[in-house]
Structures are given as C-alpha cells and as structure tokens.
Amino acid sequence: MPRELITLQVGQCGNQIGCKFWDLALHEHAANNAQATFQPSMSTFFRNVDAGGRDVGMPTGTAPIQFLKARALLVDMEQGVLDQVMKGHIGELFDGRQLISDVSGAGNNWARGFCHYGPKYHDTIMEKVRHAVEQCDSLQCFMLIHSLGGGTGSGVGTYVLQHLQDEFPNVYRFVTPVFPSEDDDVVTSPYNSILSLAQLIDHADCVLPLCNDALSEICAKVSTEEDKCRRSFSASAAQKSAGPQEVGKPWERMNMLAAQLLLDLTCSMRFEGPLNVDLNEVTMNMVPYPRMHFLISSLTGSIMNLRDTPAGGQPASHYYLRNMSQLFSDAFSRDYQLITADPKQDLYLASALLLRGDVDMADIRQNLARVQRGLRFVRWNPEGWKVGHCAVPPLNQPRSLLCIANNCCIADTFTELRARFMRLYKRKAHLHHYTEFVEQDHFEQSLRAVDDVIGLYDDARTSYGGDMAPPKRLQVVC
C-alpha cells in the first residue's frame, strides 16, 4: 500500500531532528510488527531493499524485511553532523547517495545558503530528489525539516522548497521549521528567519513551526510531572529505574518532541483507523485562505515517554497516563503548544484533532463540546473541527492527541520576529554579508511578504472575530 513521503532534512538542526525522527519511526513500526515483515504501513517512510540496494517488490505484509532504507535526503554544508549520523546506529538507513554535503558551511548566512550553495548543488540535489521520487509508487508529500536561524537549513532549505514546487507541483510540501528563540546565539538569526519565512509563505503548502523555548519548557514540565508520578507510585520502583535526573541531553528530548509531531501527523497515512486523515485533508481543512497556512500544534499523550528513549530502560509512561479530558485540556493550554503562543486568547480560524489509540467517539464529542466553550472561533466557522482517529497508539502510551490550529496568534510570533529583524536592519548591521549575494531590495520584498500575512491574520481578527451575522439566503420562486 504505497503512499510515500520523502523527508528532506537540511542543516544541522534539521538533521538532528531528522535522526531522532528516524529512530522513533523505526521503534514505532517495530512495536506494531511482531513478525518483522515489510508491512504496507512501512512503505510510507522506508524502502525494503536487497543487498544490492534494489527494491524488493511491493509491500504485501508477508515479505521479510531485508534492509531498510529511509526515503530521505540529508543535506548539510558542513560534514560534522552528517558524519555522526552515518556512524550512528541509524546510519544504515541511508546510503551515500542520499547525502549532499560540503565542507565550509553557510556561515549562518541565508543568502550564502540560498544564492551560493543552492545553485551550486542544484543539479545534484534535484537529481537525487528525482531518484527518490522514482522509487515511489504514489508520492504524497515532501516533508522539509530545518531551522530558520542558521544559514544552511534556512537558505538551502528554502531554495530546495522553491524547486520542489516548480518540478513537482502536485506533491504537497509540508515544512517543520524551527524558529529561533529571542536569545539565540546566532546574531543574524532574525535576518535568516524573515528571509526564509517569505519563502515559506510563497512555496509551502503547510507550515508547522516549532520554537526552541516552547519545546524546552514542555520537556521541563513533563519531566517534573513524571518525577512526581514516579515518586508517588513507588519509592523502590523509582530508585530502581531512575538514572541520573538528567537523562539524555536537553536537545535530544526536544528533538524527540519534534519527531513525535511528524509521527502523529502521519500515523493515519500509515495505520488504519475509524476516521482516517490524510495530509491533503489537513491542507484542505486548515487553510481557509491562500498564504494563511501557518499552523500551531500541540502534542499531548505521546510525549509522556520523554524521559527514557525507547531503546533502553523502563518506559516512564508506565507512571504517567493522561485520560481523555486531561488530554483535551492540555491540548489547548499554552503549556503544550510547540511554539510560544497562547491560542486560547486569540481567534481560531480552524482546528484539527488527530487522536491515536484507545479513544471513543462519545468521549471525543463530549470533550469537544466542553473545550469549545472556552475558545473563540471565526464567525463563519463556529464549530469547525477536523477530527481524525487512528487505531494504533503511540509508543508506550495508550492514547494521544495532536491538535493543529490555524490561529491568529501566529501573527504575534511573526510580529516579534519582525521586530528583531528591524532592530538589526535599521542599523544595517551585518547586511554586507548578505548583499554579497542578494540585492538589498530582497530584504524589502521579504519584509513586505511577511507584513502581508500579518495583515491577513489581523484582518481576520477584526472582520471575523465578532458574532455571527445571519447568512444571506437566496430568494427562490417555486
């Protein structure tokens, strides 16, 4: 049952998240595949190949797994991260042909990425993309994972995005960009972000931004809750299974969150369920107007096993289960949003709930009715929800909820990025690094594009925030 998705991980951050994603994906599929046969669900992310690297027939569920290869392209203009990936335990998922690298790096300069490395590696990258596409039977989507603050992920990433649109206009382009935090140590990150954002506005179908601050806060919160649960559950059990308080580097846990987002977003594409949701349905239901395709996500349930990676140790989820109404409350709380935002205080244009595992319709409807009362929706979509239910739960948890919202509070995130941009731009700080590659007018154009989208969301707040006016009915004569 091929319905493939090709991942493009670009830059240091993109590749680190990407690797965590592949690790989790393998574990998720392994947990649902006792016989180690190549299930149709696996063909979304993986190919089954023989020793010579050739695809082994169509996935029927009975063929044994020989060698798995990820449907991915790994791009970085430095070699450090990619080398680590290939040496690591998931290195076997990739062959050399899936990597594109250089040595010098993009110097945290979007323009160097977009205007120098992009064109330099254009042919190589696009040829490898085409090769990956040919290995697909029915490609659904490209997934771009990158950060906006640096040079490679932002510049090369958005360069590739544009060309994906040109060459494969019918394949959806989903992007999970990591927005830089206020105290990001890359000085030019505001420039890189705004310049990238302008590209995402024009060339992405759907953008699910992530923010380091928010991810880090969620990790801290979940760890605290887990500790409390462990302690209350059993003192001796807690002693046995707890290692040092800090298990894994903070970045690893944050990357796991991002990886879980991608898994939960695509679970319905891969596994069966009573109410399937494909990625094209997400675009259809969540994007009411062109260019307003920036969606805020929140994850609850599946993230409760952050403490221990699945590879070793007792799953912490053993101690920390959330029931349905807790999941729903968490999903709309500012504490679990994957960017720093509080959508509850602002206007919702659309919202999607993607549930996994052991949930039932009555519970969903009841909780929906309950949370809806506390939310403000546009007047033309007073009860508009997209609901999906995948039967297969996430790893180590009985159920989870991924909430994706198109909410006007994203305009505030953009405004804040814009303010940081202006602080540099007013003084023309570091501009000469960029004007080596682009005209200064490009900065103006990008700013205008971002302003336009901020304007769209602001307009929505004013025009659609009020009470429902009765619709104009057509007069008919029988």
């Binding site: 409807r365 033309w380 009860e383 929800w385 997209k386 659609y464």
Partner: protein, 475 residues
C-alpha cells in the same frame, strides 16, 4: 420460480465501505435467522450471487458489490474482514482504489478523480449486471462530509444514470455530526445533494447525530464507535431492503399480506414520484438494547401510535416526544378523538392560538415485520392531513411475518416528507455563512468549482427546501 431483480451496491469511501460490509452481513444474518428457506433465498439472490462449485472449491456466496475508495487501507481491510470472518465475501475483481485520497475536497473528487474512478468501475458494474437475469437497481453508500463518498459518489451517480437510464438508483448518504468531523463538510454536503438529486431516484438521509442518539439514549451503548453506528444503520436499512410483501388493510382490522415486492427498490419509485421531492428519511421502532429484547413484547397498536407521532413531530427517537402536536380535526376520519384523549385537552384553533406545525409528507412506506399483523391498524397513517393534497395513494404498506433483530415486532417508516427540511436548512445556512466569507473556496476553484457552481448548488437546495416547506402551506 420468478426471476428476482438484483440490487448491486456501490460502496464509496471509508464510510461507504465500512457501512456496506456491515449491511451485507446484517442482511444475510437476519435472513438466516428467519429460518425460512424462501426468505433466505430471496435475500441471497438479490444482494449476492454464488460462484460455481468446481472440483477444487465450493461455491461461495459473493456480494453483488463494487468497492471504491481513493486510498487503499479501508477497501483492503473490508475485503479481508469479509473473507476471513463472514460466510460470504467480496469479488476480488470488484475493488478499485487509488492512493492519494480525495482531500475532503468535493471538487477534487468530482472533477479530478471521478472520471478515472468511473473508467475502472464501469466494467465492474456491467459485469455484476450481466451476471444477473434481471437488474433491479443500484444502491450507492457513502458519506457526504469528505471527498470520496461526496465528490466521487456524485460523479458515479451521474454516470450510472446516463448509462443505465431505466435502472433505479438509490443513494444512502451519511450526514456527518453537525458539530463537525470535517470543516468543509457543509460545502461538500450542499454540492453533493444539489447534483445528486437531479440524477438519483431517491436519497435516504442517515444522520450521525440521530444514530448516535439512538445508540446512547435507546440502546444504552456506553462506548459508541463508528462500528456500533454502522450496525444500527444496517439494521434500519435491512428493514426496508429485506424481502417483504405488499400489505392491504382489511375491513376486520389489521393488514393482510398479498403479493411479494419483487424489486426491493420499487418502493423508492413510489415514494419519489415527483422530481422535486427526492429526499427520504427512515425511522424505525422499537430500538432496544439487546439484553432487554427477550423481556419485551410490543403490540402493533402501541408501536404504530408511537411511530406515527415520530412522523408528525419529526422525532428520530421514540423518547420525550411532543404529544401536544396533533393533526387538525378531520371529522371523516374520526381518528383524532382517540388520539386526543391520550394527553391533555386538545385546544381548538383560535386566532391567538396556532397549533404547532406537524410534518406533512409527499408519501410514506410503512414496513411491518413480525407476527399478529391482523392487529396492525395502519389506517391512521392515511390521515389526509399528513399528506400534500396532490398526493394520491400516498401510503404503501408492506410486511413480512419474519421478525427482525431479535424483536418480535418492528415497524419502519421510509418517508418522503418535510422531515428532511430542518437538516437541509441547517447545512445550507452554515455553508452560506462560510461562503459569505469566501473561506476555503480557493481549494474548490483549483479544480473548477467556481462561484457560479457554488451559487447554482445553493440555489438548487433552496428550491428543494422551498418545495418541502410549501407542503404545509397547501394543506
């Protein structure tokens, strides 16, 4: 033995396929439970065919069905479930699925995917018809919220009409929960209904809200799933699709069964005799949890009285009904005196007091299954005030001695009436509210559904609605 006209089912999308699986299973199970060989044979011949017994394998019972979807998982799952656990299966050649899904986009389903689907599916349907001695018609099952059942389903309906002008087409359409399963569901519902009503012979409206209520309030199911809802819907449809005989009222009281109804879709033609009135609702009584069935014994008078009131007030469940709504006095029928003694005093209409409005029908079909039919008085369903003045012979009664669903007596009412109006009105209002803001229209425009197409769709539904509302004015 008379040749029985067959009914081919086209199962569209996730909902249509999962419902279709449950429906075929229910039909076979209920027919087998009757213990009557003729009843079982008639059911089997209509909805199934038997493959030939060869030297290597037994003849198998194969559903006369075509499975269509725009993504693979459900069709493959449904075929596998039938093959593994049921005493019947689907024909492996009759499944067609694509990969990408219809994106909940009616225009994508209708304009872009429909033609490809039809080019594959037309042969499957032709093969089913050629395997039959006589074709009764086609039953299409699908939901209206998404893109496949709605968009592709509309295209398939149109193609079936143009290819098989004389066959009956019945669309069983599932309405999504009004609190939302798909954000653009109201657009998809409006676009589907406005198109389909031109080509189909009848549309049976099945509403998730209603089915959910039945599950929770009457059947006391704690964890309602789509699977439990599909069982309930299948039970309802089985009432009207299983074999039955025409029934006539006899002077001594009750009904008497006469000749069998050969084409199960014929009642549709009867109910939808007027091109402006194509929408049908289905109510059944009683609805009881299975653990209480054995202790319950209903009488026809009681069942029919409740069912009639469900019709009059447009209730989908027999609970907390408004019994104060009654039909205007009709001295000729003299029915009202018996009814009014039931609850309170009937107030005479005065200029200040206007009696609450009752549902007016174009026509109804009443199906009674169970014993003691001589005690079933259907005359109250012929009350003039229930019908538009231009309806003649507006009530068709049919029945069968074999009970259904473990219940000793069941009554089902398939109605072409104003009962459809509130739902159509609600969906139209919500769609117009969204359209007013031009939300999501760019997704539809990408595949050729522009402003004019939307306006035409809304207009067609407004007209249909106006026709139904007018039924009251004319009485």
């Amino acid at each position: 033995m008379a040749v029985r006209p067959v009914v081919a089912t086209v199962q569209l999308g996730q909902c249509g396929n999962q419902l279709g699986l449950e429906l075929h299973d229910t039909l076979l199970r209920e027919a087998a439970a009757s213990g009557d060989a003729a009843f079982l044979r008639d059911t089997q011949e209509t909805f199934f065919r038997t493959t030939e017994t060869t030297s290597s394998s037994q003849g198998k019972l194969v559903a006369r069905a075509v499975l269509v979807d725009t993504e693979p998982k459900v069709v493959e799952g449904v075929m596998e479930t039938a093959r593994r656990s049921k005493g019947w299966q689907y024909d492996a050649r009759n499944a067609y699925h694509q990969q990408g899904g219809a994106a909940n986009n009616w225009s994508f389903g209708y304009k872009h995917l429909g033609p490809t689907v039809w080019s594959n599916v037309a042969d499957m349907i032709r093969r089913e018809f050629e395997a039959a001695d006589m074709v009764g018609g086609v039953l299409l099952l699908g939901s209206l919220a998404g893109g496949t059942g709605s968009g592709v389903g509309t295209y398939v309906t149109e193609m079936l009409r143009s290819e098989y002008r004389k066959s009956l087409l019945l669309n069983g359409v599932v309405w999504p929960y009004s609190t939302g399963e798909v954000i653009v569901q109201n657009y998809n519902v409006c676009l589907s209904l406005s198109h389909v009503m031109q080509d189909t012979d009848g549309v049976i409206m099945i509403e998730n809200d209603h089915i959910h209520d039945i599950c929770t309030k009457l059947l006391h199911i704690n964890h309602v799933t789509f699977s439990s809802m599909n069982s309930v819907i299948s039970q309802h449809l089985a009432n009207i699709l299983l074999p039955s005989n025409r029934a006539v009222s006899v002077p001594l009281g009750g009904v008497s069964l006469t000749e069998p109804i050969r084409n199960f879709l014929d009642p549709v033609a009867h109910l939808c005799c007027h091109p402006s009135y194509k929408f049908l609702t289905l109510k059944t009584i009683p609805q009881m949890p299975s653990n209480t069935l054995a202790f319950c014994s209903n009488t026809w008078p009681s069942l029919l009285k409740h069912l009639r009131q469900m019709l009059i007030v447009n209730a989908h469940i027999d609970e907390a009904m408004d019994w104060s709504v009654q039909l205007p006095a009709d001295r000729e029928s003299g029915i009202l005196t018996r009814m009014s003694s039931r609850v309170g005093a009937r107030q005479p209409p005065t200029p200040q007091y206007q009696p609450p409005h009752h549902i007016v029908s174009v026509s109804n079909m009443l199906v009674l299954r169970g014993g003691q039919l001589s005690t079933a008085d259907t005359v109250p369903f012929t009350h003039r005030a229930l019908y538009a003045p231009w309806s003649f012979s507006p009530l068709l009664v049919s029945g069968n001695h074999w009970p259904l669903g473990g219940c000793d007596k069941t009554a089902a009412l398939l109605s072409n009436s104003q009962a459809v109006a509130p739902s159509i009105d609600r969906v139209l209002s919500k769609a117009l509210l969204m359209y007013d803001a031009k939300a999501y229209v760019h997704h539809y425009a990408t595949h050729g559904i522009d402003d004019e197409a939307f306006t035409n769709a809304f207009m067609a539904l407004e007209q249909a609605l106006a026709h139904y509302k007018e039924l009251s004015g004319s009485t």
